[in-house]
Amino acid sequence: MVLTSLIFAFFCIITVFVYFIVPKKIQWLVLLVASLIFLFYNNLTISTVIQAISILVSSYIFGRLIDKYHDNKKSKIFLLSGITVILGFLIYLKYTNLFLITFNHILNVLNVNYQFSYVYRNSLIGISYYSLIMISYLIDIYRGTCKPQKNILKLALFMSYFPILNSGPFVRYNNMEEQLYKKNKFDYDRMCSGLVRVLWGVFKILVISQRLGMFVDTVYGDLNNFNGYYTIIAILFFPLQLYTNFSGSIDIIMGVSEIIGIELPENFNIPFFSKTITEFWRNWHITLGAWLKDYIFYPLLKSDFMQNLNKKCKKMFGKKTGKKIPLYLSMLIMWILIGIWHGGAYTFIIGTGLLQFIYIFLEDTLEPVADKVNKKLGINSEVFSYKLYQVIRTYILFSFSMIFFRAISIGNALQIIKNIFVYNPWILVDNTSLYKAGLDLQDFRVLILSLFVLFTVERLSKTGSVRKKLFKQNVIFRWVIIYLLIFSIVIFGCYGVGYDPAAFIYRQF
């Protein structure tokens, strides 16, 4: 179910309606039924049912066993068994082809004349999310920070709560336990606030992201005809396209959840205002970062292996340099995992993994050098212009890494990078060329205006929730803003090929 589709809107309206009219005791059951419908929508097969039930039942049983044998060595065995089952499904369903690609490469290198053919696995929506969420559930029980859920249906709701299946955020059992199963009263103000967030998300996706996507898709889809400045613009557009789509989806999800009365953790914090890649990742997909930090990065750093390495390196390279080595090694492992999580292909491992690691490594090691250079040249790094330079630099670095994320193969990515160097600046000024890549002059105007709105709102959100500020305004102003948002979605939204009222309406003018 696409989040911006009418069917999802109907689905949410019916769910919310039923949720608030049934007896409060069974409200959570309504959410469970809705979640199951969402989970199996268009994908109800024996295989997908087995996947879901296996992950649920093993989380349920191992969770209770871990708790039962607390303070006993057995609990660790149960924890590892539970994680193995969940990871096993995840790897089998999402990463089989990654192994096959690797094997095929090795066979090629060894000159063996055999290639494995790739497989298609039918997995349920949200598997990358709920499998990690269930792993954290088991680890939290093991660490003693939460108690296992005794009702398997309630656990099923935690695992499949429909708003988070599409694109997160990652939730923790501790934060959800009370909220999911509590008796919830309808709250009009909360509904209005949630609806505005949904609208804002729809605006981001339909007006900005889809529009940027038309340009990016055209350029990435025809590398022979579109190169040079087309490529540069597409590369710079893509992070914005991704961000407005991803954070827009999160806005819709959080808005719907807010209407229901369940608060989810924020996943973005105006990432494009970040001055370094390190800071960027603290503000982008926050809950994934937090998950990895708590369940992989910290335990890894704290592990005996890393601590022994720490000691050895300190002896060999001195205290300052020595302690950095286990740190960088742990970071490298974590970034490769982040890359793998994003998708079972090497383009993701490079784009959202290795390149990010290299950036952060360079930032960390070159920072003292940069400080010295700035001091020598008398450059003030505390002024607006310098911060602007840092923000732009971060954006460009991230855009470059996203070439790999967006490309269909490494060869494709390299071709795109090669295309950057074709010299054709005249396309920017000859008044026709630029409009051949999927967007016309009108589209560019809408884009510039809507990006201006986006960044203004984001800037405002630095000093607190924009929606709260809006709801403090007088009723007329408030409704003018809300109507403007609705009309701009209706008029300027891109609804895809074959159904494009926007094109019809605003091209009249």
Partner: protein
Amino acid sequence: MEKEEIYERLNNVFRDIFDDESITVNENTTSNDIEDWDSLEHINLVVAVENEFGIKFNMNEVTTMKNVGEMVDIILSRMN
């Protein structure tokens, strides 16, 4: 073990980890008071404290302790 003795030994651990002989911690000391105490150095600190006192913090304690006072409370509860 008395609290004073724990603070005494903690001072040595902190001085060693952060390379600063002038550090003296008290129950209200937080990561804001020590320049190099970031989330990564925190792990090294925790492990050094574990080794000093022969105890283990669980991961939840590692990520939630807010100041040195809370750290000392955990150490005390483990040692008694």
